[in-house]
């Protein structure tokens, strides 16, 4: 009996330790691949940087990426390559562009999803964004500057937020919008945090 109890205790403690280790993995282990992938994309960018200037903007070579997203409010170094696709596999590489939604600068809604706590947590701090903050989206043709128009917290089933006109799925779009989606609250899948913005300026390369 005593041996049985002791073995039970030992197994329980072991399970606890394994779960702790798993939490550590979610927070720090998952980010390794994301960082590696993002660095690959950025290396391309730096290679292209020396290849000339046009229109005052540095050239960018995006490779597989759809765009380069920078958010000055979240720091001078805040820069992520946005990849195409939002499957769990896609999102391991970095923020993902929703297939079928508008491309950067185009009329409609450019929707980007990113992890909040795992895989490098690119969208960890987008709750700090305020109305008027810049979301700078670089593509190979142009730099599009969006301005944040508002944030909302919605249920995971709320697909209207990614409609061409957010919240009005029946309306045709008349301007270029951006929408960022991530999970809310942190470490949860209960709700989604949504940031909307509207195109405020375009600079051609």
């Amino acid at each position: 009996m005593r041996v049985l109890l002791r073995t039970c205790g030992e197994l329980s403690v072991t399970c606890g330790l394994v779960m702790l280790l798993f939490c550590g993995y979610l927070l720090w282990g998952t980010g390794g691949y994301t960082e590696w992938y993002q660095q690959q994309v950025k290396r391309h960018l730096h290679d292209a940087a020396g290849s000339g200037r046009s229109g005052g903007l540095r050239r960018v070579h995006l490779g597989d990426a759809v765009a380069l997203l920078r958010i000055p409010r979240l720091g001078r170094d805040y820069e992520y390559a946005v990849l195409e696709g939002v499957t769990p596999q896609d999102l391991r590489r970095g923020p993902g562009h929703y297939p079928g939604t508008a491309l950067p600068g185009r009329r409609g809604n450019f929707v980007v999803s990113g992890h909040r706590t795992t895989y490098g947590a690119p969208f960890n701090r987008i709750d700090e964004l305020r109305r008027g903050d810049a979301l700078v989206v670089d593509t190979e043709d142009a730099r599009y500057t969006y301005r944040v128009t508002g944030t909302e917290i919605v249920s995971p089933a709320e697909v209207d937020v990614i409609a061409p006109v957010p919240g009005r799925p029946d309306r045709p779009p008349d301007r270029a919008m951006i929408t960022l989606t991530t999970c809310h609250p942190e470490y949860s899948a209960r709700q989604r945090l949504i940031v909307h913005g509207v195109l405020a300026g375009t600079t051609r390369r």
């Binding site: 002791r6 073995t7 030992e10 197994l11 394994v18 280790l21 798993f22 993995y25 979610l26 282990g29 998952t30 939002v86 769990p88 999102l91 929703y98 999803s113 990113g114 992890h115 909040r116 706590t117 795992t118 895989y119 969208f123 919605v154 995971p156 089933a157 709320e158 697909v159 937020v161 990614i162 989606t181 991530t182 999970c183 470490y187 949860s188 899948a189 989604r192 949504i194």
Partner: protein, 52 residues
């Protein structure tokens, strides 16, 4: 359980300690690089898309 394993380890206390540490590290590596990556997609901690 751990007592049973400890008694089965060969050598003196120092050698046993070393073997035990290696075994623990091995278990950690297997968990971190094999088990956790397989487990992670099924744990809903960071779902970021809508409508799926």
């Amino acid at each position: 359980m751990y007592g049973w394993i400890w008694r089965r380890l060969p050598g003196g206390p120092a050698a046993r300690l070393l073997t035990a540490l290696v075994l623990v590290a091995l278990a950690g590596v297997v968990l971190w690089y094999l088990v956790f990556p397989m487990l992670e997609p099924h744990v809903p901690v960071d779902r970021v898309t809508v409508g799926t």
